[in-house]
Amino acid sequence: MSAFQWRLTGRCYKLGHDVPHQGGVIPGWVIAGRYLEPKDVIPHLFEETDPGFHERCRPGDIIVAGRNFGMGPKMNGYVAMNALGFGLVCESMPFLAYRAAVGCGLRVMTDCVNATDICETGDALEVDFRDGWFVNHTRGIRREYPPVPDGLLELIELGGNTGWLKQWRTSQQRTTAAHPDPEA
């Protein structure tokens, strides 16, 4: 668990306001087809707005989005972002989109007021999602933002819902082995 990287150093990829999940983040057919494996979703991340994005990005890159990012409760785009090793910083996000991102294990900070005013695509960023700070090294700007809530740290460290459930299942098996059911 200690190996989990809460601090990312990477390039900024800036988006505007009101970018929807469907179309803005990932094509509608990927969502409708319920593609959720990284290999299936990565090639299509930002495909409709920025073809070839997945070939130019690098692990540690940080998506900085404006207000109302990612409208919709679906996970496909966040699966891709997480598999690519990204973090997400946005000015605001509908809650179900936030929940979907967290459920994929994505490092995400929301309610980062005016974050898109202090960076441009390509800037060198350093963001700590657990401690809640954002540094733009290119422009010499630092901001404090609301960090990932304590209650969600473990979920993200374990890779989201599926990873959390796997860990929970393993811990249950250990408990059962240590304290076998006397009536079994």
Binding site: P73, L96, D150, G151, N161, W164, R169
Partner: protein
């Protein structure tokens, strides 16, 4: 604390909670509907999780695709029955056994004031009608099934005080359409995304069905919960039906609200939501005369017995227009039986309407009673987003049960105030 804060604190074993905190409430029950059992079961099976944390708390309902319009639906039904057996779920309200999962638990005393439950479906907000909370988990219902709970971030609360009484022919659904429209255009200055909308003010005029209607449109505006503080009449109903003891929850007098809004409904006219969303409401007179092909009465927002009664008052002794097809889905099997006992069934059938089994009707993905390209529909569905009833270029309007019934008779969108019931005067206000 607000109502949701008090409820989440009580269910999380905490003295108090604040918006933004992450808690893991212990639910009174866990609801999962027929459309998502397969996904949850397969996910848990793949993880080697074959036992549920609390099978006695799990309520499975078959309401989304009740009569299997496809081989795939029949396969899903068979899968769900096997899942219930393997999981040991006894509270399985399968085909013909319960009805709409967001309606019948309030009628039968399963869902009671002060309760909290997890649901896969976002229309669990209906629980607010009886003074309870149901929180949508989506696909994460699997974690709730496996472990008994899941993380919940305490939502902020917006209070809306209702002033005045509804005029004759005006219904709580009209209030909901108006609220959605005022929120969308900024006249009611609040963001409902992941908020609880807590009503206050002149609420005694609203019976349980009307309270369910009040929960509907705010949900479409992304409210995560709606709360109508239970009236003496609602508490009396709950006490009469209660399957277990319950403690109602009310907001503290000095609770903090993110926004405090007010709406005078005394001059409100019947509303029609124009195609594209509940937030496109206009006075019925602006849409009157639009020719319709398709009518649906039912859904979580308008599926209680009082809603059926309201529509039946207009239909009694009349026939729907020859070019109109009308579908009626009661909210519960009990309502269907009561309709038979009290003559409503005959009223609807003689008027030319088609009865559907209790459940969601066309409002779930148009699995039954869909519309064709270019057709026009008016209904009491949860929403009228494009494609809700199938064809994406169909024109879907929404109205109250009274407006929908009056329109079915006229063959075009019609003002219910101009359609006098033949047998006795229409009830005003709440139902």
């Amino acid at each position: 604390m607000t109502a949701v804060e008090k409820t989440l604190a009580a269910k999380s074993g905490r003295a108090g909670v604040e918006p933004g905190e992450v808690v893991h409430p212990d639910p009174d029950f866990i609801m999962v509907h027929d459309g998502v059992v397969m996904g949850a079961k397969r996910e848990l099976d793949a993880l080697g999780i074959d036992r549920l944390a609390a099978p006695e708390k799990v309520v499975m309902v078959t309401d989304h695709d009740v009569i299997y319009g496809s081989a795939r639906a029949a396969e899903r039904g068979a899968f769900n029955r096997q899942a219930a057996r393997q999981w040991g779920v006894r509270q399985f309200f399968d085909v013909g056994r319960g009805g709409h999962g967001h309606i019948f638990p309030m009628e039968t005393g399963m869902l009671l004031p002060g309760m909290f439950y997890f649901d896969n479906d976002r229309h669990a907000t209906n629980a607010g009608a009886i003074g309870a909370f149901g929180f949508r988990m989506g696909a994460e219902i699997s974690r709730v099934l496996a472990t008994g709970t899941n993380w919940v971030m305490v939502p902020k609360t917006v209070r809306l005080t209702i002033r005045g009484r509804l005029a004759t022919g005006v219904h709580a659904r009209d209030v909901g359409f108006r609220i959605a429209t005022l929120v969308a255009n900024g006249a009611l200055d609040a963001d409902l995304d992941y908020r609880v909308l807590e009503y206050a003010g002149d609420l005694d005029q609203f019976d349980l069905a009307a309270r369910a209607a009040l929960c509907s449109s705010p949900t479409e505006m992304r409210a995560y919960g709606v709360f109508v503080p239970p009236s003496a009449a609602v508490l009396a109903h709950a006490r009469e039906k209660a399957q277990r003891p319950f403690t109602p929850v009310f907001a503290d007098a000095h609770a903090h609200y993110e926004a405090d809004l007010a709406l005078d409904v005394s001059a409100l006219e019947p509303q029609v939501a124009l195609p594209g969303g509940v937030q496109h409401a206009v006075d019925v007179t602006e849409a009157a005369g639009t020719r319709i092909d398709h009518v649906f009465l039912g859904s979580c927002g308008s599926g209680m017995y009082a809603d059926l009664e309201t529509a039946a008052r207009y239909l009694a002794g009349r026939r729907i227009a020859p070019h109109v097809r009308m579908f009626v889905a009661p909210g519960s099997e009990e309502s269907t039986k009561r309709m038979a006992r009290e003559g409503l069934l005959q009223t609807f059938i003689e008027a030319g309407a088609v009865m559907l089994p209790a459940g969601c009707g066309p409002c779930n993905d148009a699995v039954i009673g869909p519309v064709h390209s270019g057709e026009v529909s008016i209904s009491t569905a949860a929403n009228n987003n494009y494609g809700r009833f199938g064809a994406k270029d169909a024109q879907l309007y929404l109205g109250s049960p009274a407006t929908v019934a009056a329109s079915a008779i006229a063959g075009c969108i019609a003002d219910p105030r101009a359609c006098t019931p033949l047998q006795r005067e229409a009830r005003s206000g709440g139902s």
